[in-house]
């Protein structure tokens, strides 16, 4: 009986996780620059999500729940890594893997700009930017981060200004 319940739980979690797997990669990519750290972080997000699944309220959106876990794990991960490493990792060659179907040179340039901008942000602004670029509503962003919608709107406005000033010649 217990093992049936457990495998039901695993199946439900696997189904939901696979549907929202992209969240893991988006967060890992935002907080890590080299592939070893990204894989490490992605694995930890998966493990922590699975462990926390018993507390998941199925009447709520799984994506919001998973984003919270992923970002909390990522920010803690980035903190512990920053305490060990006192240098900035430059643009990883993994990001230069191009494919004609991805939009070519313009897409490469925008991807580089994205990561350049991300590198300049602190852990919380990165989370905010990621959620915004992933097209979440201000309401959802506020729910994930635990700040007000007004605060979200203000911060996004500032990020837009900062980006425009920084990359105005691009």
């Amino acid at each position: 009986m217990a093992s049936t319940k457990s495998s039901d739980r695993d199946e439900r979690f696997s189904a939901l996780f696979e549907r929202h797997r992209g969240i893991v990669f988006k967060v890992a990519n935002t907080y890590c620059r080299n592939s070893a750290d990204r894989d490490d972080l992605a694995q930890e997000i998966a493990t922590q999500s699975w462990r926390a699944f018993d507390k998941f309220d199925s009447s709520r959106a799984f994506s919001t729940w998973m984003y919270r876990i992923a970002l909390n794990v990522a920010i803690s991960f980035a903190r512990s890594r920053r305490l060990r490493e006192r240098y900035t990792v430059t643009l990883d060659e993994d990001y230069d893997v191009a494919d004609a179907s991805d939009g070519g040179d313009e897409a490469d340039d925008r991807a580089r700009l994205l990561h350049q901008f991300i590198e300049e942000l602190d852990q919380f602004d990165r989370a905010l930017l990621l959620l915004y670029l992933d097209e979440h509503s201000y309401h959802d962003i506020a729910g994930v981060l635990g700040i007000t919608e007004t605060n979200v709107a203000t911060k996004i406005g500032r990020l837009k200004e900062r980006f425009a000033k920084r990359f105005s010649a691009t």
Binding site: S76, L114, G146
Partner: protein, 213 residues
């Protein structure tokens, strides 16, 4: 270029990386990279030790001061140690409860604030546990020896011991405050509690700015 122009870039980067890193994620992996829990493990074991020591002291001195109810100084010495032991248990248990109820699915700002406060509390708890010993050594000697040192020792000696204890507490507090200041600290300190507290404090300030808007 506008910030919104990067929305498509995010999708492209993620697609590329999913393609190049066909990562099999194992949910059941008892992770060597469980960094959230690993970073909290020293804090957890430290406080488990504190609760255990508090319980041991409370169990040892409880009967002592009860048996010496007729000897005021010995009873007071026992009670002082008993109160200290209860405080140790309470402080340690509080942190353990906070660690145990940590839910990573809570909003980001709330969780990061709690983690940073837990890190910072390491110094506060160390001080709360360590500082009283500038004065508690006397009650401990009395309890261990069963001798009323307060009545037998010369008054000047008692006053001098009390004075040294008070100066010791003040000095330790001042030294601790200097250690967590931004401009202080040797290379050895950077790897220690002081650095951990400074980083925690910086994170809390960052969170406060982020919350303000």
């Amino acid at each position: 270029m506008e910030l919104d122009d990067l929305k498509h870039a995010l999708t492209i980067v993620d697609r590329r990386l999913e393609r190049t890193h066909a990562l099999q994620l194992d949910f059941h992996k008892t992770s060597t990279v469980d960094r959230v829990r690993a970073s909290l493990r020293p804090l957890m074991w430290g406080h488990i030790g504190q609760v255990a020591l508090g319980l041991a002291v409370a169990l040892a001195v409880g009967p002592f001061w009860w048996l010496h109810r007729a000897q005021l100084n010995l009873m007071a010495a026992g009670i002082a140690l008993h109160v200290y032991a209860v405080l140790m248990i309470a402080l340690g248990a509080r942190v353990l409860v906070l660690l145990h109820t940590l839910d990573l699915a809570e909003p980001v700002v709330a969780i990061q604030k709690r983690l940073a406060k837990l890190d910072r509390s390491y110094l506060t708890t160390s001080l709360a546990v360590g500082l009283p010993w500038w004065l508690l050594w006397l009650p401990l000697l009395m309890v261990l020896s069963g001798v009323d040192l307060v009545s037998r020792a010369p008054t000047t000696w008692l006053l001098a011991s009390l004075g040294i204890g008070v100066v010791g507490i003040a000095g330790t507090l001042f030294w601790s405050w200097r250690r967590i200041g931004p401009d202080y600290g040797s290379r050895a300190d950077r790897a220690g509690v002081a650095n951990s507290v400074r980083n925690a404090q910086r994170l809390l300030e960052q969170i406060a700015r982020f919350e303000r808007g």
